[in-house]
Amino acid sequence: MEQSSQQPLVSLRGIMKAFPGVLANNNIDLDIFPGEIHALLGENGAGKSTLMKILYGFYRADDGRIWVDGKETRIKSPADARQLNIGMVFQVLNLIPAMSVLENIALFLKDLPGLYNPAQIRKRIFEQSRLYGLEVNPDDMVAHLSIGVQQKVEILKLLLSDAKILILDEPTRVLAPHEVESLFEVLRKLRQNGYAIILITHKLKEVMECTDRITVLRAGRVAGTILCSEANHEKLVQLMFDKQLTAQIEREDLPRALDPVLELVSFSTHGEGTEVSLKNIALKIFPGEIVGVAGVSGNGQKELCDAILGIEKVAGGRKLLKAQDFTHSTTRKMRDFGLGFVPENPLTMATVPFMSVLENMAVTRTADYSRHGGLTMDWKLVQEDARQSLEKFGFTFSYYLPAKSLSGGNLQRLIIAREMMKDSQLIVASYLTRGLDVQSTLVARQELMRARNEGAGVLLISEDLEELFSLCDRLIVLYEGRIAGEFKPSETDYYQIGYLMTGSQGNHVTTH
């Protein structure tokens, strides 16, 4: 690679960006060359998305300078960035579900005439999608597409918008292994055709597989830039994380309990609108085991949690806890039984944003803490419990900050601490480690394993196959509201799970 002799297509110098409480980007320099796939690597919260949103004009930097094609420019909005042929696929997909694929793409066309002709756009979509093997039906509503197909639409949208500098923010996050491979195929073709690609990820394997150069961000700073050919796993880990990670997760061999703590018998719900209906779910969770739910999010995970918790109405079948019928019980009854719940979005689903940390710690257990018939609360006891469980996790918070001022990772820690504060019989954890840094991820997993070792039944929903394979005693795959398969981790592999996750059958590849 002789990129160093070339002029960079994009140069960022001294980019600074602060959000309340965090310096998300601290003096970042970055060069992107034409015809390269440049990985931006770093753990959650390292500042990758923020940096790229600044390049795309979605955020405005507090300080720093940007050159594109050798000319210094000011990018004040996405409109400016698009003028410079910069395009971005956001981490959270940004398609509009209520519109067709065609309309979503038209929205981003640079030369869209005031009166546009759908037939012409359809033709352009077909041409471009054939070129890169990104087949989509332009007339489908986005709401009906799987996440994998939506990702294709996002990329088509980018290509048709005439972008030459493509930013892809964690595009593989929601893809099954074989889909990741076809995405990389597309990226390689694009590289050949002279596009510059910035690929954000926190997965080392992907980085080694398909990129030319790697820039590692850590806590808002550049930890280093290396050529992919000179990189190896250890080097990258060292750049990504300061300290060496040693803690191990200990799984005790427990005798299999006889009776399940949770049993779902031909369990169904009726989903409205964009919700998924659960269909005929049969599931047993025994004390002392972790059952993992693999699946692309949006295939019934949220509905499953809500139905177990008693938020969503059960349309058919039964829900038994320790052989007692809880099918139509309220959430309160479930909580009294000893249910811990870590939902997928801690800010909106598990905390009251304007209440303090301490109040949030108590909010799911007001009955335990109320005194004088509910007229007062025993805040001392709350504080003591909170201190203990936070200590166990090595977290510290000010108890009197409003919950909404905590960062995503800290909020997640707060919820984990709260939900595992008392001994639970059943724990439902959705995306347990989303938004956590590596250290807290480890603690959270250890904590979950401890609960299991002490006899709790655990349902763990995750989109991280590595996490599922390392933690779970059993795995089920959820696809379109059904259980598409059930395995012991030792009896299956990522590819088989991946295919089931995306509803593809047959051509099962076992080679890695």
């Binding site: 959000f19 949103k53 795309y56 979605f58 955020y59 405005r60 909005s77 996405p78 409109a79 698009r82 971005m88 956001f90 940004n94 398609l95 509009i96 579900p97 209520a98 519109m99 309309e103 038209a106 929205l107 981003f108 869209l112 005439p113 005031g114 009166l115 546009y116 409205e272 609108g273």
Partner: protein, 305 residues
């Protein structure tokens, strides 16, 4: 009941339905961009008073229509200043505009109460030429009536077939996506409000300059609110708004017919029929509402940092 009464009711249904349809169309446009203007009633009143006043002063009803449209557009821009620029809550701001409209329209209209105007000229519908005059006079309509259906299709075309409409709907669904596509969501929301205000102004002008041909306080009689309900009824779609207006106005007509035919039911009860019908339909639609409502309806766009 005479044929004349029947035709009379039909004719008045068309007259009163027209202003309602314009107002509904206007609200469809603004709600598609994610803004709900609960103060529509106030905007209608301001426009009706302004249009009437200008017609009295200039003697030209067409100038009156123009003035009413501008008044509607500007009132909506004031609302836009509150909810877009100042990021105020939409419902509260809507109520503020409502009461502001009550007051301002009374102030504007006061000097013109009881004044006579040249109303909008009416043209015979082609067809029933041989009928006696007392029938045919019921079917002479002003241009705003003839325009309202083509206008509905025009608005549909604008929303669903043009770049502007695409951007507008995108803002209502997800303002951040619209921003990422290089658009300015705030500007688009202002534009939608302005166009919605122009349409509301047309409806109000029809009410005071063509239909009732006078100005009275609170003369819109809840049309602004009915229009907001009809937007939900029509699932935010301009063409379905025709059906909504037909159902509501049809119920009004039915209720009038019952009254003229002398049935022995309290007229107050009969007055309620259209509203009860609208409520019922809303209840039935209500369950599926989330499929068609613009996803960010009623939410304030905060912008990015």
């Amino acid at each position: 009941m005479s044929l004349l009464a029947l035709l009379g009711v039909l004719s008045s249904t068309i007259f009163s339905g027209t202003s309602l349809l314009y107002a509904t169309l206007g609200e469809v446009v603004t709600e598609r961009s994610g803004t709900v203007n609960l103060g529509l009633e106030g905007v209608l009143l301001i426009s009706a008073a302004t249009g009437y006043g200008v017609t009295v002063s200039t003697g030209n009803p067409f100038l009156g229509v123009l003035a009413a449209m501008l008044a509607g557009g500007l009132s909506n821009l004031v609302f836009g200043y509150l909810v877009i620029t100042r990021k105020a809550n939409q419902l509260a701001s809507g109520l503020a505009v409502l009461f502001f409209g009550y007051g301002l329209s009374a102030l504007i209209g006061k000097p013109f109460v009881g004044k006579l105007i040249n109303s909008l000229p009416r043209y015979m519908i082609p067809g029933p030429g041989e009928l006696p005059l007392r029938y045919t006079s019921l079917f002479k309509f002003d241009f705003l009536i003839y325009l309202v259906i083509p206008m509905t299709f025009f608005i549909w075309w604008l929303l669903y077939r043009t770049r502007w409409g695409l951007g507008l709907r995108a803002v209502g669904e997800n303002a951040e996506t619209a921003y990422a596509s290089g658009r300015n969501p705030g500007m688009i929301k202002f534009q939608a409000l302005f166009v919605g205000g122009l349409l509301a102004g047309l409806g109000a002008a029809h009410l005071s300059i063509a239909f009732t041909m006078n100005w009275a306080e609170y003369m819109t009689g809840g049309r602004g609110f009915i229009a907001i309900a009809l937007v939900i009824f029509s699932k935010w779609h301009p063409i379905r708004a025709i059906a909504g207006v037909l159902v509501f106005s049809g119920a009004v007509a039915f209720q009038l017919l019952l009254q003229v035919s002398g049935v022995n039911v309290s007229p107050f009860l009969l007055d309620m029929i259209p509203f009860i019908l609208t409520l019922t339909v809303l209840l039935i639609w209500g369950g599926t509402r989330k499929h068609s409502a613009p996803a960010t309806l009623g939410r304030v766009y905060q912008g990015t940092e």
